[in-house]
């Protein structure tokens, strides 16, 4: 019976405080996003999203208590079981779910709808961490690498099948965690080059781009004659790059579906069709941009109030913050995320087990990826993919999943000293 005081003494209160602050600000801004000056609803009105969000927050607290009370060793030992259950749930969803807005990703229990894809994040994080604690990534063991890749890529594959591109992309975040656990940085660098070529292909006319690449290679050989000895490799790399340029072009124009093409086009040039595919980005930038330094004030945002920005309480919640609280408000939000992410890395590093540390990095990577893509899309730096801003966006599934993700780490952290004594 001394578990309770132990938890309160050992839990990382700084993280809890940041979490609570984010939830509070998120809740207030969800209210601001759905508030209608005509109806003047109360923030506690359960017919609007702010009232509902309060219920989600309340249930999140219950989930936290449960997570902290459970024997912390269970997370490691049951990691594969949880993962397996979620995989089954995803398959089940794929087969039986009723399509909502073009995707079969929601399970309905009466009035409550949950999105299993959200819960796949922490389940995969657990499974990946568990697996990594049993191997050494620095060793070139292709079999192990393949299994790790399989664990990581199975959930996004299933999610992609249900037409939820955004949620699937999140799993790319695991690369960051692998990097910490010894994965060769080459993959990250190659990945970055790939992304750079991808974007440049869309921005620059193909012919110019190929000429530029050719010149670049020629310059490299001319300035460093030794490369001539490796001419075969150089030519192969050159061919690969040029081949990629053409395949990206082909991929975007022929493989991607129309709405996915539009999202990429909207990112590159939203002004091309401000009322069509560019609408979301254009309006979102207008809302944020009109906020100025200090913002228009709480409940005073016109762009979000009058529905110019779509999905304002969920994916575009940052517009409300940007419009009503200006640059200062945006900085506070960015600051909170930086504080949270730093703290998570700090906590991860003080874990005594590879599982704990690896899980911590997974948590940081997932939250960071959401932050990166969500804010990026609202200000036109990333394509519009429907993923929520953690702890801010309205939505039970997303709030629960991030809460679980974070508090499993805090549960592990609370008991880290027991691991020490055990070791």
């Amino acid at each position: 019976m001394e578990r309770a005081p132990k938890i309160s003494r050992n839990i990382d209160w700084i993280t809890v405080a940041i979490y609570a602050a984010m939830l509070l600000l998120g809740w207030i801004n969800v209210y601001a996003a759905v508030y209608s000056p005509d109806l003047k609803q109360s923030i506690f009105d359960f017919s609007i999203n702010s009232g509902k969000q309060l219920i989600w927050i309340g249930t999140a607290v219950i989930i936290i208590i449960v997570l902290l009370v459970i024997d912390y060793k269970a997370y490691e030992s049951l990691a594969y079981v949880v993962y397996g259950f979620i995989i089954l749930l995803l398959i089940f969803t794929l087969i039986f779910a009723r399509p909502i807005a073009g995707s079969r990703s929601w399970l309905e229990f009466g009035a409550i709808r949950i999105q299993p894809a959200e819960f796949a994040k922490f389940a995969t994080a657990l499974a990946v961490s568990k697996f990594m604690s049993t191997i050494n990534l620095r060793q070139q063991n292709w079999k192990e690498h393949a299994i790790l890749a399989g664990i990581t890529l199975l959930p996004p594959f299933l999610i992609l099948l249900s037409n939820e591109t955004g949620s699937a992309l999140v799993f790319g975040a695991f690369l960051l965690a692998f990097f910490r656990e010894g994965m060769s940085p080459l993959i990250l660098i190659l990945g970055s080059i790939f992304v750079a070529i991808f974007i440049l292909t869309l921005l620059v006319p193909k012919l110019y781009f190929v000429i530029a690449i050719t010149l670049l290679f020629g310059l490299a050989i001319w300035s460093n004659r030794r490369l001539l000895r490796k001419i075969t490799s150089v030519v192969l790399i050159y061919a690969a790059v040029v081949g990629m340029v053409f395949s990206v072009d082909f991929f975007v124009n022929n493989i991607l579906q129309q709405h996915q093409q539009n999202r990429i086009k909207a990112l590159i040039n939203p002004e091309a069709d401000p009322l069509g595919f560019g609408w979301n980005v254009t309006q979102s930038k207008i809302a944020i941009g009109s906020g100025g330094l200090y913002g228009k004030g709480f409940l005073e945002g016109t762009q979000t109030k009058f529905d110019f920005v779509p999905e304002q309480s969920t994916d575009f919640i940052f517009c409300t913050i940007g419009e009503e609280h200006g640059w200062i408000g945006s900085l506070v939000l960015i600051g909170l995320f930086m504080a949270l992410l730093s703290r998570i890395i700090f906590i991860a590093e003080r874990q005594k087990t590879v599982f704990g540390r690896s899980y911590g990095y997974c948590v940081a990577s997932i939250i960071f990826f959401h932050f990166l893509v969500n804010i990026g899309m609202t200000i036109g730096l990333a394509p519009v993919v429907g993923i929520p801003l953690p702890f801010f966006s309205y939505g039970g599934s997303s709030l629960w999943s991030f809460t679980i993700l974070l508090f499993i780490l805090l549960a592990l952290d609370t008991h880290r000293k027991q691991d020490l004594t055990r070791a």
């Binding site: 960051l176 207008i286 809302a287 941009g289 009058f306 529905d307 110019f308 960071f368």
Partner: protein, 602 residues
Amino acid sequence: MQTIFFVVAAVFAIKLFFIQVLNTEYKHAADANTIKRVVEYPFRGLIYDREGKLLVQNMPVYDLMVVPKEIKNIDTLRFCQLFNIPLDEFRLKIKTAKAYSYVKPSPFLQKLSPEEFAALQDNLVEFPGFYINARNVRGYPHQSLAHALGYIGEVSPQKLEQPEYAAYAAGDYLGVSGIEHEYEKILMGKKGVKYRMVNVRGIDKGPFKEGQYDTTAVAGQDLVSSIDLELQQYGERMLKGKRGSIVAIEPNTGEILAFISAPFYDPNLLTGKELGKNYLSLLRDPEKPLYNRPIKATYPPGSVFKLVQALIALEEGVITPQTGYPCNQSLVKCAHGHPYPSNLKIAIENSCNPYFYQVFRAVVNQGRSRNIYQDTHLGLDKWRDHVLSFGFADNLGVDLPYENMGIIASSRYYDKLYGKTGWKYPTFYSMSIGQGETGVTPLQMANLMATIANRGYYITPHLIRGIGPQQQPLPDYQKKNFTSVASRHYEPVIEGMAEVVASRRGTGWWANLSHLGIDICGKTGTVQNPHGKDHAVFAAFAPRVNPKIAIAVYIENAGFGSISSAPLASLMIEKYLTGTISKPRQRWEGWIENGEFYKSKH
């Protein structure tokens, strides 16, 4: 890894700084998104006549508007019956409205008659989604006074570019002619602007910032005209179907009582939507109904000008009222077999041409120089200065645009034509009897009568006597303009004018109202017309003492004034002074109205 986090955070912060703090474009875009500027049009000022009768009003026109989204369970059949439209048309109109917008109102039926509007008002509750939209157009309840009132029309794109039209926007109306033009600044009022917020679907979401930037429309000020509507309409009735004009002025105030240009048109033709079409058809009408004769048409003044000659001669001291000249027909023809003009009164009464030939010569050639050319030069210019003091050959300054100046020939004119030594009195003698190089508008002619009635001064004739509820007078129209002829010289001339009407031999005998106790002083005139029958002129004022009305009547191609313009002038005077036409004189009404005088052998 934290480095990556902080780089991303920094990139976001910088990008946000650019779009939120540095770039103002997004703020404008946000305002353009949500703030709708709604212009509130002011009520244009009304115009009343001197008795308080409404001359110009704003007429509400009702349009039936429809908002397709709000149509709910309406009885389409009943609707169609009520408005007498076929079902197909109803469906088509709804379809058109939907194509425009589901949530914005679009016109369903335009310009409902007041009856339709009344019937509709009671039934409108049954038809949700249908609204009445009231607009204002100019209305002229009496169909009179078109030329003086003018009309309003859309402001032209050229004007919109000029700074003085900054208060106007495309599609706004402004006074194009007449009083509407002249008093535009007073009538127009001030537009109000309401800033409303709209959501993404264009639906109104209330005032912007509690309406702190809103302004309310200020109605234009009303005008009170000096026109006597009853007299105006009487004159219009008399001139209907003829060409001519009547201008009547109250001498001691310069207020215009009647301002008639025939042929005329119904001012209601130039209102609202039909303006463009109707304007063109009026413009193309060979009768030229748009021609504003009282201020645009210039005619040689004819014999009426002899009054001016007499006044100048008296002032110059070259004659006295007792001066006689022989009716020497070798100088200039004289139409009338009349007694010897042994004094001015007889000369005026009989309009003796040789008499005034000699009077004018005496005025011009006074021996100011030994050189006859030099003398004529000086004499003519001196004479012309006198004439101009009566308001001739210049804009009188009436409150209407585009007034014609008229002409009185000067020495410079003849110099140009014949050289400095190429002309003398016989070159321009015909001006002595109001012919030759002279041109006078009917308004100037009426003003001459007012000047004589006032014994030597006139107040600039005007159509508006007061502005706003206090009927504030206009300072321009308070000043007395004195002629260069002293007041004491007027009485002998007036005596002659009285005789024109009072004497059985006088050319104005048929204008005589002495049986009513009204003594009219007048003068007939004939404007020579190379294209057909001469124009008949009669100018007069009455009563002789303390005159109340000065009038000039022109009837084109009527021949002699004595049987056409003179009786018409007397009818106008009788109507104005007594309010009615006495029984024995009603036959004159028929004579004028039916144009009997055209058939006369005279």
